[in-house]
Every structure is written in C-alpha cells, then in structure tokens.
Amino acid sequence: MVSEAPDTVIELKNVAKVFGSTTAVRDLSFCVPKGTAFGLIGPNGAGKTTTLKMMMGILPCTNGRMNILGLDVSSHPQTIKQRLGYVPEQNFIHRWMRVGEAINFCRSFYPTWNEPLCGEMLKRFDLGGGKKVRHLSKGMLAKLSLVLALAHDPEVLILDEPMGGLDPIAREEFLEGVMANLADQHRTVVFSSHLLGDVQRMVQTVGIIDRGELLTLSSMDNLLKETKRIRGVLRDGCQPKQPPAHTIWQRVQGREWLVTVGNFTSDLPLQLKSTNPVQDVEVIDLTLEDIFKDYIKGRRVQR
C-alpha cells in the first residue's frame, strides 16, 4: 500500500493497540516527512514504546493502518526492517557474543551493510571487537546498539529512549553519534526520550502522547513560540472568569493565576485583562519540559 503524500516516510492512521482489557494506544494518527527528526514524548506507560514496536513490526496493530516507507507494516515487516534501524531502551544483544561477533551476525542480514561507516563508528566509540557484550557498560552497550542500527544505512532510525540511565558523558557521545548521522538529510529519525532537553535539541517536530492518545503534534519552533505561560495577579477575592481558548493547564493559588495556552498571540494578555479580574499580566517563555509537564497535568485535571 503506497502512502498518500510522496515525501511522507511514516504514516499512522487511527492506530490502536489493545492488550487484553488495557488500551495502550488509541486512535493515533500522524505523519513524519522524509529527512526530518520527530520526537515522541510522554510519561511512563503513555504508549510510546508500543507505538515504536508497532512501527518496527514487532507488535501488530489492533486497529488502524501503519505505513512505513510506503509499505504496509503488517504485510511487509521484513522488507521494512531491512530499511529501518532501531535502538531500544534496553538492548538484549546476546550476552555471550563479542562485539565483533555481534557485528558479523547482524551484517549477514543486511545487504546494504556499510563497512567503512561501521568501522568508523566503532573507532569513534572506542568499541574493541574482542570485548564481550556482557562486559560492556550500559553506555558502551547503547553505543554498540547505535552502531548496529546505523551500519546498514537505514532510511529511518528509531530511537526508543536509548539514553536512559546513561551518565552525561556517555549521553553526549551517544548524541554526537546520532547527530553526525543526522547530517545525512535523507534519513528520518523518530526519537523517544524522557530527556527533553535532548529532544528539544534534536527534533524538528514533536508529538506529546499520554495514555495512548496524542495530545499535540507540532513543529518544535511553533510549539515553543505558541505555547506560553501567563501569570496573572487577580484582584482581591476574585476568581478567573473566562480562561483563554486553547488553555492547556491552569492553577489558581491565592491571587496568582497561572495559565498555559497553546495558541499564544501578542494580544492575548490584553484580552485576558479585559475578560478577567486581573491586575497584572506577565508572559513566561517555556521549555519543552515545561510544556510537556503542563500538557500532562492539564490532561490529568480534565480526567
């Protein structure tokens, strides 16, 4: 099945995944254009890993349609895996293998294996071929995992919380390895991580997911530009009357009214003043981490 937009590499349409009585992913739809980096962020148990595993063809969708590189994942899992690279949160490469053996083993499944790139990455990460996988530190294992995911020149790279538990140095080296490969503009990257500073640094588009549902999907620049927190000082004994449209989260504590909005415009503070008993208004810029927290808190309050 060919995807609709020619430059779309990943296309999810109403994808759902149910495990027994638990719905892990519900009605998830988004597209990732070719050559972009897409970040999927969410709290633990939000359905990120399930979504990424469905993309890899490891888990079948309960409902919906998932196309990767123009191919239906459920009908062409092996063809798609040939063209994808995947770095999981925990890598379970056979512990008895040596680094060289793991590389030789994986090489045999990919006709597009790029030997110079593999050698270059091993050198960059100081990964000796004779080391046993069981003796590698967590950081080294993550790096080996990245080498195995990139050495066959995949068109799509999926990173599923690959830096969890890594020290800052190992994380930096890992990210540098990814960034060096991102220079190739043909490669599409899907990145899931709890380290939102890294996500903000790497991706162009971000999706926030909670309890299997996509809360927002936007380009990183737009999200940071349009999502702002407004701090209003309420008049004595007054409560907010009319929260602005697209309120993500709000909190009233004493006279302080904090409200995070998703479609900030320069005239919004004045509007807020005119429609609510507010004395002073201050606009606060947010980081991706703040935005993420507000989306999740706002959703929890709604529920």
């Binding site: 890899m56 490891i58 888990l59 079948p60 899992p77 092996q78 063809t79 895996k81 040939q82 995947y86 999981p88 925990q90 890598n91 379970f92 490469i93 056979h94 512990r95 008895w96 293998m97 030789n104 083993f105 994986c106 045999s108 499944f109 990919y110």
Partner: protein, 248 residues
C-alpha cells in the same frame, strides 16, 4: 543462513557440552574401573564366562550412555525456543529482518540435526561394540551369543529409548514455544515418558482391564504407539505456536 546456525550452536553450546559429558561418562567410568583393577588388583582373569563379562562390561555403559543422552534431547527441546526468551535475546532478534519461519527452520535444522548426530553416534558405538565382540570371540572359536540373539537383546531397549527420546524432545519443544523458563520445559519433557506410561498403565489396568488380551498387544507396545503419535503432534503444535506468537 550460516549466521543463524552459528547462533544456534553458540546459544546451545552449554547444552551440547553437557550432552557430550553425559554421552562419554559411562565409558570413562568403565575405563577407569578397568585401569584401577589392572593397576591395583592385576587381574584379567574373568573365569570361564569371559565373553559374558566382556559383553556386559561394554554393553552396560553403552546403554547408560544412551539413557543419559535422553537428557540431552530433553535439554535441546527445552532450550530451543525458550532459551532466547529467557535471556531476552529474542527481542534483539525481533528487531532484525529475520522472519519467524526462517528462525524456526534454522532451529529445526540445528536441533534435529544434533539429535540425529547423537543418535547415529550412539548406534555407531553400539555397532562397534557388537563387531568387536564377534571379532574377538569368533576368532577364539567360542561365540555363545548368536547375532540374532544379540539383536533380540539390544533392539527392544533401543526402540523404547528412541521413542522416549523423541517424546522428551517434542514435549519439551511444545512447552518451550509458550513458556518462559527452559528449566520448566526440560522438566516437563523429562517427565513426559512417565506421564505417558502411567496413562497407558491406567488405561490398561483400570479403565479397560481386558486391554491387552483384546488388542493382542502388551501395554509396552501401546506406550510405543502413544509416543510415536504424541511426538510429531507436539512438535507440530509447538512449531505453529512459535510461528504464530505475537511477542518475541
């Protein structure tokens, strides 16, 4: 693909080492006992029944080796599919472009091939002992056990041993397709001949007492038939479960 066969070998190397030890151990014990007797007792005088002692001396460890090899069959069956799930390396394999059918084919080639090698090696040793026996004693002009008698002596236990080994491997294989502990699969495989023989005994003596006379076959033969029916069935169901399984 050679890589998958190599992976199967390395994954099961400890099982294979255990299998070699189990195979060789009875012979090593006999050789050690003989050396001990030669060195410290200096006696090679076995009396007039020298042929019988010679035959027993080598047939007993051969049969012992065969019985211990059953353990290898059960271990191979139990570890074949669960081993990777147990150490979670099945997840790593799931990210690679290897279809379940391909993985299964290589597992079958490796496991069935290994079992076949064990079996053929065992038959070869048995044949070697029988040949040595005839060469040694026919040259001396005394051959109390004729070839057909010896075949009657060896063939039935060999047949039951083969059927039991097959049952152990296939039952362990079946359970390893959906359980997560190789130890449990292997134990179920090892217990399966006991369960089947108890079932046959229960049927023959409790449910249907005229069982043997009505069917003109002893219960042992029914054990054999049950093994031969259950084994391919268990193997087939186990293989299907593995291929159709959603999770790695």
């Amino acid at each position: 693909m050679k890589a998958l066969l190599w992976k199967e070998y390395r994954q099961n190397r400890s099982v294979l080492i255990a299998g070699v030890v189990a195979f060789v151990l009875p012979f090593v014990i006999v050789i050690c006992v003989e050396l001990y007797r030669d060195l410290f007792w200096s006696t090679n005088n076995w009396g007039p029944q020298v042929w019988q002692v010679w035959l027993e001396k080598w047939l007993v460890p051969t049969m012992g080796s065969g019985c211990l090899s059953l353990l290898t069959w059960a271990l191979l069956g139990g570890y074949s599919l669960t081993g990777e799930r147990y150490d979670r390396s099945a997840e790593f394999l799931a990210y690679l472009p290897i279809s379940r059918r391909t993985a299964l084919t290589h597992k079958i080639i490796f496991n069935v091939g290994t079992c076949l090698i064990i079996y053929l090696l065992y038959r070869l040793i048995l044949a070697g002992i029988v040949a040595a026996y005839y060469q040694k004693f026919s040259a001396e002009g005394r051959l109390p056990v004729q070839p057909n008698e010896l075949a009657d002596m060896i063939a039935p236990p060999l047949l039951y041993m083969t059927a039991t080994a097959l049952l152990m491997f296939c039952v362990a294989w079946l359970f390893s397709s959906f359980l997560n502990s190789p130890a449990i699969d292997t134990c179920i495989g090892l217990a399966s001949p006991l369960i089947v023989s108890m079932g046959v005994w229960f049927w023959a003596w409790v449910v249907d007492p005229p069982f043997e006379s009505a069917r003109q076959a002893p219960a042992e033969e029914w054990y054999l038939y049950t093994c031969l029916i259950l084994s391919p069935l268990a193997f087939l169901i186990g293989s299907l479960c593995y291929v159709r399984r959603t999770e790695p």
